[in-house]
């Protein structure tokens, strides 16, 4: 059964970050004050699998009164893409698709080559400096095995992170979007909810409700799994090789004549 997350704009409490680190026993990333709003964990990485974005914007949000300002928060996570760049790039077979349709790195198989790191269009997966292996969100594979929901969704106090079957989540997301539009939040839209909306990834199992352009949340506007270009690049490589070959033959030919 494909499972995933539907994450909406939240209250920025970061309990998902803490619950994730506690459940998965991840180390801290150092104690650095960044001066970037309330974001001191900066981005997703080998030891940060949930990360809350804080966006201070000089524009109001529809329906809000109180000045030309709004503050957006969103909990980012591995998207478990239908077409996963990391999985497609993994030469050892360490990255697999599980029975929950999630993308999972088997730590005992991973050899730390790092091909997955460049394969992810979102910059989610990364290698841990201490052991060299690649790590990212497992969609709490271990918890799901025991019929428990992932730690972040369990801890989220406002249900901004919803966990469930992807089809159901899509239906819920559609309803939520309609509600928001009805309330006048016209700018709300779904990011990566299906293949039609995001062909480069074939749709995301963990998708988002946003109220500004993806770039504002540090998300790519049109992510594409690099392996999608393999056929085309092989074709163009073949074309180029053929061209070069032709040119070489032509050169020799013309030199002879």
């Amino acid at each position: 059964m494909p499972t995933g997350f539907f994450t909406t704009v939240c209250i920025g409490c970061k309990v998902c970050e803490v619950a994730c680190k506690q459940w998965n026993q991840l180390p801290d990333d150092g104690f650095t004050f960044t001066g970037m709003s309330y974001d001191n964990s900066v981005d997703l990485g080998a030891s940060t699998w949930r990360h809350v974005e804080f966006v201070e914007r000089p524009v109001p949000l529809s329906g809000q009164t109180g000045g030309n300002f709004s503050w957006l928060m969103l909990s980012d996570v591995c998207k478990h893409c239908q077409r996963a760049g990391c999985l497609e790039n993994c030469p050892t077979g360490a990255i697999i698709r599980t029975e929950f349709d999630s993308v999972y790195v088997q730590p005992d198989v991973c050899n730390g080559c790092g091909y997955c790191v460049v394969g992810c269009p979102f910059g989610v997966i990364d290698r841990l400096e201490s052991d060299g292996r690649a790590w990212k969100c497992t969609l709490c594979y271990d918890r799901q095995k025991d019929q428990m929901e992932p730690a972040c969704a369990k801890a989220c106090p406002t249900d901004s992170i919803l966990f469930g079957e992807v089809a159901e989540l899509r239906a819920k997301a559609g309803e939520r979007l309609e509600q928001l539009h009805a309330r006048g939040v016209k700018e709300a839209y779904l990011y990566g909810a299906d293949a039609a909306g995001q062909p480069g990834t074939g749709g995301l199992n963990a998708f988002f409700l946003l109220v500004d352009r993806p770039e504002v949340y540090n998300l790519p506007p049109d992510p594409v799994a690099p392996a999608k270009y393999v056929k085309e690049s092989w074709a163009s490589l073949a074309m180029a090789s053929a061209g070069l070959l032709l040119a070489a033959i032509g050169a020799v030919w013309s030199a002879r004549t």
Partner: protein, 863 residues
């Protein structure tokens, strides 16, 4: 609320999803503002003008819920002809005694009758025994609300100058925005709709904090939002079970269930104590039953009718023993030993250097916490030690540190803000020497009894005779928390059968009860707070989840959810109503009223006890059964909330000559210098302090956890881009913030979430300071609360940390002296600050008494 109570905030988000409008008033734009519909940035310390403005709007536009106001509040009560308002006396009410520096409250009374407050300063009585006072209801009520001396008209006059223009001029809130808030609130109140207020220490931590909440209470009464679903005023408490710690108090002036602690000056005998504290009308007429049952719980068989239930065993208060008063006394050498449990005052409260100086005078100090704190190591890691001003080897205080068990390592209950008790079960054994508070207190008491076993000195009898027989279990001899719950619930003295509710209590010693309001939490011998029936398996009131005091009532005073005839105000807001056929109150919740008393009941002239409660008196704890818009007694600083500027402000009081709350508590001492009352050129900015989601209060629980520490790793200050420009501060750089008390450094966070406000034509800047850091833990930094002075609200002795003045400069602080404990930090002309403090008429304050101005502590001093 989203910042400090994210778990409770889920219900606000749920309400928003169902269409509720969220209004957030805060000097800063916070995580709450981010999801609110309306955010109002306000000058810190001016909320009474903002809320008073709403009262003005309600009255002038006739937006009040007339039927509710006339039937259930004291709006129609006539006040004595001697009463003078702040409008008449330029910021003082009648009754100000400039010799004693406090109010005498006779002129605030209902005409012809002396009232009895449900809480607060009950000893404000004239001394006449309450039982002889006759009924406490107002002699005359004017249902037309037109009498010039009725509360409603007094209220109208009192707030006549709290206009939208005044709000704009004082709070820096644009008129249109203010009017939008007022209109939204009124539109969402009435028969069909209700609105709720939530507040936390942003309202309480002011020198006039209690009156902030009173102002909101007046609004809620006028709009008919009390005792009804979706209404009320929610105090968001700062820790798990801090509500529990006022119910079964860690406060010096209360006994369990809000029974007052005996006072040596007034309550010399049991009879006097009862006379002084019971009411003649309303539910507090039951007071003796609760007191006798409590004394039976304390002293068991040694509490008999003959010895006045061992009343004399109780300690009697000889003065104010609140936090700041005690620390000031400690600095003067009057306190020899001190226990601190689950508190880190040198980071969490005010003027840390003064507090550390006080602790250096102690002979011994006991600290119980998860890890060593700044308080337990004041002799080792304090700033003054670092600077070499004080040397560790010269401090004689002996410090005992006891490691504490976490909530997962012990059984017990949490009482949260809605009075809901929820049980938590021990998951694992505490590691090493860590022990629960229950373990510590029980075994300490047991050892004390052991020590005094053979004493023949009569003064040791309270210890010898104390009931202290809780069963213990396990290898570490942990007392059984459920046995304590059983005692709190109460039982029949003879049989030990648990009491089902507080109405079963008697004043003849036949019942024993540790806390009357909690009676029923162990009903049928079952741990009621441990009930965990999911919300989906019961109705929306969810009365089978946990247990709420009193009597598992989820909404207090819910009689007010029905009209005077006992019918719901509307179908939509139906909650509790009179069932004519059965002849009793019924509804979704446990009715907060005498079950069989019909709406038509009116007490006879000679009625006694709870018979004085009429069928239209929902507010049964008040002797007159009405909610108090005007508080004729019980408050130290006036019957109606009045705007006073904070102790340290940028402005003169725009409304009155009286600058600050005349009754506030001040500590005029070398270690606690104040700034000028307004416009101090050395301190031109306003500071407000607060918590972040990522850390918990003074940080003792969170600064040791890497996962939380990395999320907010350093002390910082939040400032607007305009202030950054003005002072040359850069984002991510350092700033030094200074008051006359201390100097601290912080990283700079420049953000548009703070914006300058225009107040009386002047652009003012506010600085935001979280206060979580200290010298211990994984992440360290300076403590914001070092900056704050000792100054307090007179009713509850809480400090003013949410609005004071300071200066900010770029760069890190000097490594030299930065606290005034060894002399003034900022050079001042002698007495200058004092001269600027108060304007007439409360200018000449007499020093030396607690409650007003304290210079030096005298032992055995009376309040």
């Amino acid at each position: 609320m989203a910042e400090c109570h994210p778990v409770g905030f889920q219900w606000v988000m749920e309400a928003k999803r169902r269409g509720a409008t969220i209004i957030h008033v805060d000097p800063r734009f916070t995580r709450t503002s981010a999801v609110a519909d309306i955010h109002v940035s306000i000058r810190a310390g001016t909320d009474i003008v903002f809320l008073g403005g709403i009262i003005h709007y309600i009255l002038e536009n006739e937006r009040y819920f007339r039927e509710y106001v006339t039937a259930y509040t004291n709006a129609g009560a006539i006040i004595t002809g001697d009463f003078k308002d702040t409008e008449d006396l330029d910021g003082l009410f009648s009754g100000w005694n400039s010799e004693k520096n406090q109010y005498e409250v006779e002129s605030w009374a209902y005409e012809g009758k002396e009232p009895t407050p449900a809480a607060g300063a009950r000893e404000q009585a004239t001394g006449e025994p309450r039982s002889e006072r006759g009924q406490s209801r107002a002699e005359r009520m004017d249902p037309t609300l037109q009498h010039p001396r009725c509360v409603f008209q007094i209220l109208r006059r009192h707030y006549s100058r709290y206009t939208p223009e005044m709000v704009e001029e004082t709070c820096g809130v644009p008129r249109d925005l203010f009017l939008k808030v007022a209109k939204t609130l009124c539109d969402n109140s009435g028969r069909e709709r209700t609105s709720a207020f939530c507040y936390a220490v942003g309202w309480t931590q002011h020198s006039v904090g209690v009156q902030y909440i009173r102002t909101a209470a007046i609004i809620q009464q006028l709009l008919g939002n009390m005792g009804r679903p979706g209404g009320g005023i929610m105090a968001l408490r700062g820790h798990a079970s801090i509500q529990g710690s006022t119910d079964i108090p860690t406060l010096y002036n209360l006994l369990p269930g809000y029974l007052p602690m005996p006072k040596a000056s007034h309550d010399g005998s049991f009879e006097k104590y009862i006379e002084n504290n019971r009411a003649h009308g309303g539910w507090w007429t039951e007071f003796p039953k609760y007191m006798v049952s409590l004394l039976k719980a304390y002293f068991g068989e040694y509490a008999t009718k003959e010895n006045d239930w061992a009343y004399d065993y109780l300690p009697h208060l000889t003065g104010d023993h609140s936090h700041m008063t005690t620390y000031a006394a400690m600095a003067d050498g009057a306190v020899k030993g001190y226990f601190i449990m689950g508190e880190n005052p040198v980071v969490g409260s005010m003027n840390g250097s003064f507090q550390r100086e006080a602790m250096r005078q102690l002979d011994w100090l006991v600290v119980r916490d998860f890890a060593p704190t700044e308080t337990s190591e004041f002799w080792k890691t304090a700033p003054e030690i670092e600077r070499g001003e004080v040397r560790t080897e010269e401090i004689a205080t002996e410090v005992f540190f006891f490691p504490a068990a976490a909530h997962t390592e012990k059984d017990g209950s949490f009482t949260n803000t809605q009075r809901l008790l929820q049980w938590h079960h021990k998951a694992i054994e505490p590691p090493g020497d860590c022990r629960s508070e229950l373990h510590f207190m029980y075994h300490l008491g047991r050892r004390l009894q052991e020590l005094y076993r053979n004493s023949t000195d009569p003064k040791d009898r309270p210890i010898q005779h104390l009931t202290w027989d809780y069963p213990v279990k396990g290898a570490i001899q942990e007392p059984d928390a459920e046995a304590v719950l059983r005692e709190i619930n109460g039982f029949e003295t003879a049989t030990g059968k648990p009491l089902p509710d507080y109405t079963q209590m008697k004043d003849d010693g036949s019942t024993t009860c540790g806390c009357w309001i909690y009676t029923g939490c162990y009903k049928d011998g079952r741990n009621q707070p441990a009930r965990r029936k999911p919300g989906g398996e019961q109705d929306w009131v969810a009365s089978e989840w946990g247990w709420a005091w009193p009597h598992n009532r989820r909404i207090l005073y819910n009689r007010a959810s029905a009209d005077p005839q006992g019918k719901p105000w509307s179908e939509r807001k139906k909650y509790v109503w009179w069932d004519e056929a059965k002849g009793e109150w019924t509804g979704f919740d446990e009715p907060d009223f005498i079950k069989k008393r019909p709406p038509s009941y009116r007490p006879a002239e000679d009625a006694k006890g709870i018979d004085t409660i009429s069928g239209i008196d929902p507010f049964i704890m008040n002797a007159d059964g009405k909610s108090w818009i005007f508080a004729p007694q019980g408050l130290q600083d006036g019957p109606l909330p009045t705007h006073y500027e904070p102790q340290e402000s940028l402005f003169r009081n725009p409304l009155y000559g009286q600058q600050c709350n005349p009754a506030r508590m001040e500590w005029m001492r070398r270690e606690n210098p104040y700034h000028r009352a307004w416009n101090d050129p050395a301190f031109p900015y306003i500071v407000t302090t607060y918590r972040l989601t990522e850390h918990h209060t003074a940080g003792g629980m969170t600064r040791w956890l890497s996962w939380l520490s990395e999320l907010q790793p350093e002390m910082f200050c939040e400032i607007s881009p305009e202030l950054a420009e003005e002072k040359g501060l850069s984002n991510g750089g350092w700033a030094t913030i200074t008051t006359a008390r201390a100097e601290i450094e912080a990283r700079v966070l420049v953000t548009s979430r703070l914006k300058p406000l225009r107040v009386r034509g002047r652009l003012i800047h506010q600085i935001g300071l979280p206060y979580h850091w200290g010298s211990k833990g994984l992440v360290r930094g300076d403590s914001a609360n070092e900056l704050i002075s000792f100054v307090a609200d007179p009713n509850v002795s809480i400090q003013e940390s949410k609005a004071f003045t300071a200066n900010i400069e770029p760069g890190r602080r000097a490594r030299g002296r930065r606290a005034p404990t060894s002399g003034p930090l900022v050079s001042r002309v002698e007495g200058e600050a004092g001269q600027w403090r108060d304007l007439p008429p409360a200018r000449h304050k007499q020093p030396g008494k607690h409650g007003v101005v304290t210079i030096r502590t005298m032992r055995g001093e009376e309040t």
